[in-house]
Subunit: 250 residues, 2 copies
DNA sequence: TAGTGGTCTAGACCACACG
DNA sequence: GTGTGGTCTAGACCACTAC
């Protein structure tokens, strides 16, 4: 039966494994429009019969597609073709105006605070915020950013103690940049970096993605006045939802 | 036997699946330093005995770690803890000076040309390079960028026909920015965006990563003179090797 | 109740690395 | 040859969705 599958897939038997051959074939069908975004694929059982392989192999092939962000699975329902346009964020602002960008691009932005507490600053935060070692306590905030019903990012911020106390309530209820801006704190510069990481198990639970899915990490230290570090942190966003843009003149 | 495993892992049986519990446990051990970067983990067989589960489940747990970039596997050899520092690229330059950044950070940069050919420009390239529809042919280049022996990025560039013809040889042998610079073409601006994507099967082969591993996509259109679009393209880099940095003043 | 995807098992065979 | 990870099978049971 295996040999039949290999023949029917037009492979010379030994090059790519069966699960790859099958996932590539399904991928081609999806991209050719045989399955529209949102459409349901045949069940694992049916796919197994179609390709003449075991359910395990089909599941491996589907896992390949999931890892490439092409399909999502729902227990009890089926396998569905995913398709979504990304939300763009301009990097030229030191702190993303997530709420503005979300609204402009047709999504209802919302935050859910996970924690907001005073902690000892890590050496890294002490360095980034240029804290004196005495006042080495900062407010540590984690919140999830939603676009509509979908969690798109986990934001982690560190605020100097006084700032965190003053703005404790609004910071837990709203978007960071807007909250600071509305309370008279104008940021005028930032040092940022952008990298990619695979979702850990914990992050995959928060952001409702499969383990290992690519996340974008936006690290920043934002300044007030004469390059006085004011807040720092990072935003981990689902890369299937987000994109950062910028322009440069030399 | 399964219940014994669950007890020994200290789980209340129903919350996380076994393969997650095991991969999280191994992850904790790795992060606690029980296994140094580069060290070999016990074989799948031994791990299966240790945790009292089947090889399939151990393989699933190892796959979880692989997807999180914590370990790599080598057929016939074993499972190894990965660990590497990222190479930083400044975004402030319109085109990454990959060679300079690599050299400064202790790596030998090298390129391998995959293709360099004249093709009909896609509508997107026509738009980005502001081509007149008549001269809608461009040189399409794809090359792999190595840091030492390790492929770290796939660069895709589109050059206007005349530029491609003039610099055909050096562009295939060297880094794009340096080549242009050495031949009197000074770029002075760029529109860029940065996103994350999971590696497709094809990309995973080029870049020697598992399918689905996060890649950073640096899209750019670079300008000469008075915002005259000169080249465009994208760099897909392994996110376990690369990081982009920038600074902003408002 | 029927159908779906999620988990897990036990076992087979293969390809590769190393001694 | 021995040990390793890679592929694939056949089958069991569970949890969830829908009717």
């Amino acid at each position: 039966m295996a040999s039949l599958s290999m023949v029917s897939l037009g492979q010379n038997a030994d090059k790519p494994p069966l699960h790859i051959a099958i996932s590539e074939k399904l991928k081609a069908q999806i991209e050719a429009g045989r399955y529209e975004p949102g459409a349901r694929l045949p069940s694992e059982f049916d796919l197994g019969e179609t390709f003449g392989v075991s359910r395990t192999t089909i599941r491996r092939a589907i896992a390949n597609l999931t890892q490439q962000g092409l399909v999502t699975t729902q227990r009890g329902k089926g396998i569905f073709v995913s398709g979504r346009q990304k939300i763009s964020f301009s990097m030229s602002n030191p702190l993303m105006q997530f709420d503005v960008a979300l609204r402009e691009q047709g999504h209802m932005g919302r935050v859910q605070s996970l924690r907001f507490q005073l902690v000892d600053a890590s050496p890294e935060v002490v360095r980034k915020l240029a804290l004196s070692s005495q006042s080495a306590q900062v407010y540590w905030q984690e919140k999830i950013i939603y676009a509509g019903d979908c969690p798109v990012a986990l934001e982690i911020d560190y605020f100097p103690q006084q700032l965190g106390e003053t703005l404790a309530q609004p910071l837990q209820q709203g978007f960071t940049y807007s909250t600071l801006s509305m309370n008279g704190i104008q940021l005028n510069g930032a040092k940022v970096s952008l990298e990619g990481v695979p979702a850990t198990y914990e992050l995959s639970e928060y952001l409702a993605v499969p383990l290992g899915m690519p996340l974008l990490v936006f690290n920043y230290v934002a300044y007030c006045g004469d390059r006085r570090p004011t807040i720092c942190g990072q935003t981990l966003s689902r890369s299937d939802w987000t994109c950062y843009t910028s322009e440069f003149e030399l």
